[in-house]
């Protein structure tokens, strides 16, 4: 924040340092009027659809309301107490942790490995990067539909591939554990290209002198990787962890289409729970309380990782 304030101050200087800019006054409404005209709509939308609902959500979380009744009954912290003691919600929290660790771990590690491979001057690597990145741009709902087909245990592609190794296909989407594995796998397939692209940019930003110095010092491939590449990728990794964790919390379409949160809540994550409580069970208070939990979880992740980033930017 300090950083951005300083930036704002210098931006200020850009507009005011030259006397000529003073002549650049908007005749009709003055600078103030023009500022409101240009930045106002955006700010109003933020007020109406970001900040106000954030506050209103907290109020809703203190009520019991079916989204129809004219009166919202104030119940204090009852919704939070309910979430804290409900075994179903504990399951949801566990699912969210498993899904987040699986997807963030999978996309980060595989993204790094793919980037290392495709940073090598191999023929056809541009083409390969293109294929690997493509799923990032596709609708999660649409890819989920064709993955359901591929996962079918009777005639699906995966059943065939597993058969090559004499393995029989699990009944993916109807088994509590395999269903979670399946949604994590599809999520990784869709998003690993993003991590790869970020890591490729990170690899290309490492100064060549460092590799030169390592070579002069007689470091081998592995040593160079351990002492040059890996530490240099520290900041990129941190950025990726924050971004991936936040987008993993926002995962919805894959889960909705592939499993609808099931079987028996086995793939219901926090966001899916909010959707179900709000738009299927019409339990506004509980959905709002879960939304507050989700918001705080994301905020904590961001703040912790930004703090870490301040302390150990480079030599992680």
């Amino acid at each position: 924040m300090v950083q951005s304030q300083r930036e704002t101050a210098s931006g200020w200087a850009l507009a005011t340092s030259t006397g000529r800019w003073r002549a650049l006054r908007w005749p009709v409404l003055g600078d103030w009027g023009l500022f409101l005209l240009l930045a106002g709509p955006n700010l109003i939308l933020f007020a109406a659809f970001t900040y106000w609902p954030l506050i209103y959500n907290v109020y809703l979380s203190l009520t019991s309301w079916d989204m129809i009744a004219p009166v919202k009954a104030f119940v204090g912290l009852a919704n939070y107490r309910y979430l804290a003691s409900d075994p179903e919600f504990r399951r949801v929290a566990l699912n969210t942790v498993v899904f987040t660790l699986g997807t963030v771990g999978g996309t980060t590690i595989l993204g790094l490995l793919l980037a290392l491979l495709l940073n090598w001057p191999l023929r056809g690597r541009t083409w390969a990067r293109g294929v690997i990145f493509a799923p990032v741009l596709l609708s999660g709902a649409a890819i989920s539909v064709f993955w359901i087909n591929m996962l079918n245990s009777r005639f699906g592609l995966l059943a065939e591939l597993l058969g090559w190794f004499s393995l029989s296909s699990p009944n993916w989407l109807n088994h509590p554990i395999w269903a979670m594995v399946a949604v994590i796998m599809v999520y990784i397939w869709k998003n690993v290209g993003f991590s790869m692209v970020i890591y490729l940019a990170g690899l290309q930003a490492i100064p060549a002198e460092l590799y030169e110095a390592a070579r002069v010092d007689g470091a081998g491939h592995l040593e160079t990787f351990r002492w040059v590449t890996l530490p240099q990728l520290g900041p990129v990794t941190l950025f990726l962890l924050v971004v991936s964790m936040i987008s993993s919390f926002q995962a919805f379409d894959i889960i909705k289409v592939m499993t609808d949160g099931g079987p028996v809540n086995a793939t219901t994550t926090l966001l899916f729970y909010i959707y179900e409580q709000g738009f299927v069970a019409f339990n506004a208070g509980r959905a709002a309380a879960a939304s507050v939990v989700l918001f705080l979880a994301m905020l904590v992740v961001t703040v912790i990782q930004l703090r870490l980033g301040e302390r150990r930017v480079h030599y992680g």
Partner: protein, 278 residues
Amino acid sequence: MAERLRQRLAQAPLYLLLALAVVVMGIPFYWVVTGALKTNQEIYTFPPVWIPREPHWENFVEAWDAAPFGRFYLNSIVTTLAGSGLELLLALTSAYALVFLRVRVAGAAFLLILAALLVPSQVTLLPNYLTVARLGWINTYQGIIVPGASVAFGTFLFRQHFRTLSREILDAAVIDGCGHLRLLWQVVVPLSQPVIVTFILISMVSKWNEFLWPLVVTNSLDMRTLPIGIAYLYSVEGVMNWGPILAGTLFVILPMLVIYLLAQRWIVSGIASGAVKG
């Protein structure tokens, strides 16, 4: 010659890995495209058929008739173009105001916009649904478009870019009597074309694929967008009629694949520069 051959051989394992990566990541594409051309008989056999005996284009016709895909396309195109257009306009004007106008509240306004990045739209889903319902915007384009039109990331991106613009050019324009609005549209915008293209592409991809918000603010089939439409087709055709369903998924993903093929470099470089919007 022998030296080069040795080098090639040493690289063989890497090429093997490259091939493996491409096959694993690419095989779903092969499967959905060939599946969309198979007869149901070819789909429901095991071991599966790798190459359809002859392409069955009827699957596309059947999919198109099984759900109002024409309407889904219209809805997706309208909400994507209007949504991204509005985002672009708001991002350009707010960034200009933050950088070039001498107003005391500019710093506070910037922080307000930046802090909004910490509030993902999923967190405000329920109250925003209630607001849209009270406005009578359920099942309308404005209901889908307006709440998501405010733009923090784009404002930030353009603000950073505007501050790198050459002072000489801007000064010259001002001396020539250019006012604020002309400076914005005729000098700053043309100078920012690459950033604008990148931003609009990324914004369009995310609007096109959006699922949760249009799902909750529409309930009539006529107002559904493509991603919800394909989920609907799957739910009605169930597991009995995979050919048309797979053809239907291509209706949704093909436009994005085409944009990707045409503008790959812009999209990837934009995303690599940290361009992510939740």
